[in-house]
Symmetry: C2
Subunit: 236 residues, 2 copies
C-alpha cells in the first residue's frame, strides 16, 4: 500500500489530517526546531517546549535551564533565549531546557495524537529523511508558520524533505508538490531566496541574522529529537 | 502608503486577515468561479451561490435557474450542474441562477465584511487585474481550496494575479511570493503542471476534463462579478 507524504502548511490546518495515522515532523526553522536539533545533538537530556514565559518560569523549582525571549532579547532572570548559539555542548550537555516558542509549541500540541512526533530542521535534514524512509508510515510535515499563517522558510524545508523522499513511493498531496516546487526555486541559495520575504525583514530587525545563517546549514547534526510525553529527547 | 497584496491559501485562514481593510478576490478555479465569470459575461442577471442542494431547492418558487451537482452528475430535478458549458448566453442571459458550490460559498461567506468582494478566474484574469490596479486598496486573494485545504489550481491563479500586480508597488506576503513562484514554475503549461496533482485525478474520474481545459483559458471574458448582498452581479 502506498503511504502518503503530506505537507500541512500551517498549524491551523492540522485538524484536516488524521494525525493519528501519520508520523509528524514539526518544522519551525527560525528558530525553535533548529535550536532543538542543535541542543539534542549537543547532549541536552531533554527540551521541554512551552508557549508562555509564565509557563517557563513555572519550571524554575525543577532546576532546569530556562530559555525565554521577547523581541530578540533574553527576558530578565532567564538563562538564555532562543538563539541556537545558546545550545552548545558547554551550555546544555546533560541538562533539561525549558524553551518558550509560540508557533512550535502549538504545532506540537495539535500533533500529540500522531504515531510519532519528531523535530526537523535543515541541521538534521538527511538524518531525518533517512529515518523516515525506514518507517513505512504516512508522513505529515507540519510547518509551524508565523502566527498561524504560511511562511516560506518552513515550507522550503518541507520541500527539501519531499525532495529526498519523493522517489520512495509516497503519494504527495498538493501542498507537498507545491513545497517541493518552491524548494526547487530556492534551493541553489536558500538564504538569498528567503531575503525577499517580509518575515526576513522582521528577523533582520531583531538583529538575529547570524542565527538565520546558522539555521540554514544543512546536515550539521544527526540527532532526531522525538516527543516523549511533554519532553523532546534524542531518538535512540 | 504601500498597499498589501496578500494571498489567503485556504478559507480557514481568512480570520487571520482584516478582510474589512481589503478588496477580496474569491478564487475557485475548478469550477465555481470560472462558471460564475462565464455566466455573468454571458448576460446572467445574477448568480446566487449557496452551499447546499436543499438551500438551492429553496429558491425554486422564485423561478430562478437551479444548478446542483453531486459527483459530476446533475441532481435530478435541477436545471443544470456546475459545468461552465451550462453558462452560455442561450441558457443564462437575463436569468438569475442559484449555484451550489461548497468551497466557494464558504470563502464568500467569510469574506463578506471586505471593502468589496469580486470573483476571479483565468477567464477574466487581465480584466480583474486591470481593475485591481485602479483601486488603491489592500488586496486579498482568497483561494477556496479543496475541503478547506490548499490546492494548486487556485494558488496558481493567485500567482498569475500577483504576476500582473507585483510591479505596481504592493507589499507581498509570503503566500503571495510563493503563489507567484509556483505560477512561474507552471505558467508555460498550466494544464500539464496541474496533471501531477491528486486533485486532477479526482476531477478526471468525474469525467470533467473538458471543463478543466475550459477553465484554464486566459482572458476569454472581461466581466467582473461583484458581490451585492447575496447576489453576484456584473460590476459596472
Amino acid at each position: 500500500m502506498t503511504n502518503d507524504l503530506n505537507v500541512c502548511l500551517t498549524p491551523v490546518l492540522i485538524p484536516l489530517y488524521d494525525v493519528e495515522k501519520h508520523v509528524v515532523v514539526i518544522i519551525d526553522i527560525f528558530r525553535a526546531t533548529s535550536s532543538i536539533c542543535y541542543g539534542i545533538e549537543n547532549g541536552a537530556e531533554a527540551i521541554i517546549p512551552v508557549s508562555e514565559i509564565e509557563e517557563c518560569e513555572g519550571y524554575r523549582p525543577h532546576g532546569h535551564l530556562l530559555a525565554a525571549e521577547r523581541n530578540g532579547e533574553v527576558v530578565t532572570g532567564f538563562d538564555f533565549g532562543n538563539s541556537p548559539f545558546s545550545y552548545t555542548a558547554e551550555k546544555v550537555a546533560g541538562k533539561t531546557i525549558v524553551l518558550t516558542t509560540t508557533n512550535g509549541t502549538q504545532a506540537l500540541h495539535l500533533s500529540r495524537a500522531a504515531r510519532r512526533v519528531v523535530i526537523g530542521s535543515f541541521l538534521n535534514l538527511t538524518a531525518i529523511c533517512n529515518w523516515l524512509k525506514t518507517q513505512n508510515e504516512n508522513i505529515l510535515l507540519v510547518c509551524a508558520g508565523w502566527k498561524n499563517n504560511f511562511n516560506l522558510e518552513d515550507t522550503l524545508f518541507a520541500g527539501a524533505v519531499v525532495e529526498q523522499l519523493k522517489h520512495s513511493g509516497f503519494k504527495l498531496d498538493d501542498a507537498a508538490i507545491a513545497a517541493n516546487d518552491l524548494y526547487q526555486t530556492g534551493k541553489d541559495d536558500i538564504s538569498q531566496y528567503l531575503k525577499k520575504t517580509s518575515h526576513s525583514e522582521r528577523l533582520k530587525a531583531l538583529g538575529i541574522e547570524k542565527d538565520i545563517e546558522f539555521c540554514l546549514q544543512v546536515d550539521l547534526t544527526t540527532a532526531i529529537p522525538v516527543l516523549d510525553g511533554e519532553r523532546l529527547i534524542k531518538l535512540q
